[in-house]
Symmetry: C2
Amino acid sequence: MKEFNYYNPVRTIFGSKQVQIGNILKADGHSKVLLVYGRSSIKKTGLYDEICESLKSADIEFTEHGGVSSNPLLSHAREGVLKVEDATAILAVGGGSVIDESKAIAAAAASKCDVWELYEGKNPADALELYTILTISATGSEMNAGSVLTNEKTQEKLSFHSHLIYPKVSIVNPALALTLDFKYIAYSAVDIIAHVLEVYFTAEEHPKIQNRFCENIVKSAISATEKILENPNDINARSEFALCATWALNGLTSLGVGNYSFPNHMIEHSLSAIYNVPHGAGLAVVLPAWLKWFYKTERKQTKRFAKKIFKKNSAYEGILALEVWFAKIGAPVTLKELGVSGKDIGMIAENIDSVSDKWELKHEYPLKTLKKILKLMK
Amino acid sequence: MKEFNYYNPVRTIFGSKQVQIGNILKADGHSKVLLVYGRSSIKKTGLYDEICESLKSADIEFTEHGGVSSNPLLSHAREGVLKVEDATAILAVGGGSVIDESKAIAAAAASKCDVWELYEGKNPADALELYTILTISATGSEMNAGSVLTNEKTQEKLSFHSHLIYPKVSIVNPALALTLDFKYIAYSAVDIIAHVLEVYFTAEEHPKIQNRFCENIVKSAISATEKILENPNDINARSEFALCATWALNGLTSLGVGNYSFPNHMIEHSLSAIYNVPHGAGLAVVLPAWLKWFYKTERKQTKRFAKKIFKKNSAYEGILALEVWFAKIGAPVTLKELGVSGKDIGMIAENIDSVSDKWELKHEYPLKTLKKILKLMK
């Protein structure tokens, strides 16, 4: 087991009970916040009205920054920074995209720097306090210190991490996801599983306790997803799903494993940046392909994965089982299904390659390897 | 899955690299601390000298409060409060006992109240910042918000919890345990396993993800213990053991499970309070006995436990396997081995009963039940 530091101060409020966010903000001394959200869903569900009512009841003034897109954009984040003014906190209501963009706004506004500088390596000096109300569990952003953003001009999708962007309070209410489209459950499930497997497969060391912890999250995510698809109102399944999402990327899976990387995300981010595909959909195409390339050099861990998750005797059967499961739950598993032409492989590989030295967790694949992996996605 | 709140802001520094505690305290603005430790072991190992050197190099003044006993005592904690004076932080160097007593001192000194009031239900108003250097992994106190103390006059061993007593920084160096007596490994292992099983068995709900999480810690603790007993210098095994101890009682195992209680600790605390037995030794006697009484009403979970941990087909076989394992690693499994007379059962039951309404996590067993469980320990 390798040495590690762990620090995660997020206050998580988890459950279906309605939480008075206005009171929480007031108790923390805030009187003006920037409310950040996505497109129209929180208005359709009534959540927007509930939140506005809660803020008003607690005398919390707020300005609004709606319209965050699924792959949040630099231009939109920059507009958000201009709207901060004298707000002392950001209230993010939505999924990982809204939270990630809110983290960018919180840090850039307080650090008085351009948003993109943060993604190119500048450490933020400060960040406004961030409160989140999570409407869809997938990214784990509600309980981690990372943010991903796309620079639409340069087609780069990058990340940055800082303890300053840990949310102060995150409200995770599994019931809020009940109104979402089925396909988002599939994409979220893939994202959760990918988060776990990036560490599980690429880590320097594999302490037993961490192997089991990762396998637990993957198995629990699989069974919760199947239950939700069978009965979308199964609140227990929704709750377990939500806990899987939080645990998949809040730092716990990588304790003691040493160095690791996120090659699947590195590859997928180029697909998102170029084609604007949903992140989880992209990962469902990337991950099985990457595994088909990867397992030849890492037979032990991939064989373990196959056995523990799918009760298969060979690594390759395990990988196929994962691919089949992704397809079963409604995720695409080929570039074609993603709407991406196989002819673009060269261009996609170039994009990944050009961005790779800006990646926080470097996993430098030569262009040849990138093309090999991409071809496995056809 | 039940709703829950989770908050754990402890900064954990985990690994065998030597950490300059003086620099950490200085960076946090401290210039005077109270150094709390146990008996002579940190002086024998040289750790005491290293720490004093580190504090001096960083110009940190310190007063000392040594002599914390394995079952830390109220009288000693009260003396510690008197020594705080103008120290702005407590530095606890030792195992769970030292950390627990330090938490009591930190809270009572800052809240200007008597130490025992905290254990009788008074919420602390404030607490000094607490820094810990853990020399033996067992209790999980390095990463939780609880403290246990014995009032030697009344023979009551009670606990209190408050976010204010979360350590600010905890340094967990598995190499520091290398010098300890073998029997402490056994007692620590039992403590870790008991922490997990209290929740695993008594929880209102058993989400799959939590069942697996608990089973993971128990299995990992068992295998790490066996490796350490075979080769005490196996630093990987020591490290996994340490992570098991931290995860066993830092709040993670009880997320979403609803209400739960700690009946084995309730019973064991009376044994400790009356006979001053090591906590883990007491638990090794209590837990199998409690399980032999408990399983008759909770067959499903105990059967699962037997299968998952010991590959046994019946609950009772699983309980016996646990008892045998405790004996194998050198822990006592009967009152007699603990040095406790079977004739004292009535008196012990009375003690548990008289203290039980002061317990934070109530599990009210009638006297008759307590005696039944105690008889199973003969």
